[in-house]
């Protein structure tokens, strides 16, 4: 792939303003590296709850496979997901260990995936500072050995493409809908929450910040309102998972 092609692809991706345009950019990437199918799945922390996140799918996997995947809870046995939740590095499907392959459940899962022409491929994890988690996969109906070189060539560029893809999806969904409503905390609200999170009492915090204890309490209350939650525990969990509070 020439640098010019690379540049063009990234350009068209970053200009995409609709899901369809993003889909088209991903398809172009697949063509470029001779992949047959792709799928991007993102888990966004919903604004209202940490328990029920929101999922976004963009891809060309067959609907039947996707439905079956979720209905049967394959997410918890898929070795790709297992790698991606804790890693930053791409996962070529041939990396599935012999130990995993020995597991009948995993073997059956892989067999079923092959029925949908998902024979080999490579997946890229995304962990955003805003607490989102996503995976972009590019798949081929050819066997591992046949696509090994092609996958190796595709990895560096697709890795960068994935980061760009995720940022763009964020942007689109942020503009379009409610879930990612950007919450911003005032400096003192953030500091109050930070110290309380770190085990200080409201009184300690007031001394550290040089304000009255009531001010600290009112900052915490405002923060809860902004985050649409009721307790300091919730506020902290939300603020941390949305990346509003970092070390």
């Amino acid at each position: 792939m020439t640098p010019a092609n690379c540049h063009e692809l990234i350009e068209s991706l970053s200009k995409a303003r609709t899901v369809e345009e993003i889909h088209a950019a991903c398809s172009a990437l697949c063509n470029q590296f001779s992949f047959d199918q792709f799928q991007y799945v993102a888990r966004f922390p919903a604004a209202a709850s940490i328990i029920k996140p929101r999922y976004i799918f963009i891809g060309s996997y067959q609907d039947e496979w996707r439905t079956r995947y979720f209905a049967r809870g394959y997410m918890s046995i898929d070795p790709v997901v297992n790698h991606c939740v804790s890693h930053l590095t791409p996962y070529s499907w041939e990396q599935i260990t012999s130990l995993e392959r020995d597991d009948k459940i995993v073997r059956d899962f892989m067999g079923e995936a092959r029925e949908f022409s998902l024979n080999s491929g490579v997946s890229f994890p995304v962990h955003s500072p805003q607490g989102e988690f996503a995976i972009f996969s590019a798949a081929s109906n050819l066997d591992r050995e046949q696509v090994k070189a092609q996958i190796l060539e595709a990895i560096p560029f697709t890795h960068m493409f994935t980061a760009c893809l995720h940022e763009n999806v964020r942007k689109i969904f942020q503009q379009r809908e409610i879930p990612l409503k950007e919450v911003s905390l005032a400096e003192q609200e953030r500091e109050s929450l930070l110290w309380v999170t770190n085990g200080k009492t409201t009184w300690d915090t007031s001394e550290i910040l040089g304000v009255s204890e009531n001010t600290v309490i009112s900052h915490l209350q405002h923060t809860c309102e902004k985050l649409n939650v009721y307790s300091p525990e919730q506020a902290m969990a939300r603020a941390v998972s949305l990346g509003l509070i970092t070390p």
């Binding site: 328990i51 988690f133 970092t246």
Partner: protein
Amino acid sequence: MHITPGKNCHELVDLLIKAKTVEEIHSLCADFCEYSGFDRFLYGARIPTSFVKPYFIFISGYPNEWRTRYTVKGYMAVDPTVSHCATHLTPISWDQVRPQENSDEQIRMFMGEAREFGLNSGVSFPIHSAQGEFAMLNLASTKSHAQAKPTIQEALPYASLFSAYLHEAVRRVFEHQVLSLSRVHLTDREKQCLLWSAEGKTTWETSHILGVSERTVVFHLQNAAGKLKVVKRQQAVARAVSLGLISPQLE
């Protein structure tokens, strides 16, 4: 003159996967920097050991004098590449630093000082891990922005891939020293109690959801706090979320 980074990138990544010491990692970074046509590199990572006092790890090919000045003057709060990387996944070429930021006196001075140390142009790669770490890889050149542009363009995909492997290598090497917290193992019950607490449920409500006694919920929460080396439930929730031990459920 520089060698095409493609082939070397894969080789260096393979070596990174095997690297066992900081020194090895340092020399691999230096090789990568040279192969891809840059003059200097700096890798910095912030490990969330505590919210107020996080732990920093640096692997540096920058001039020491500049690093000292950077710390003393608190430039981390000024550096526009840091603020970009903290909120983005995509790399930033230093000439993309936004004009309004450029017009800021402090930032202009900062960039001028960096140039005195031969950091004329470059590119920064953000790294965000599943375990809540934030890191950056900077590749810098003594050339002007215009001259370095082709080098940067060509290096982008390889360097972004390299930075991911670099961070995982650093995690592995430092695991026993500072990352021990991220290997804390919480039981399913402890996680469930923390999760419902994060969701705003009281211990009484949680006990009904899980079908156990309230005392048991308190017990699990205390155990979780102990494992996370914190005293309070609020701290435990915050630590567990920031370390990625509890996260939105996978349905």
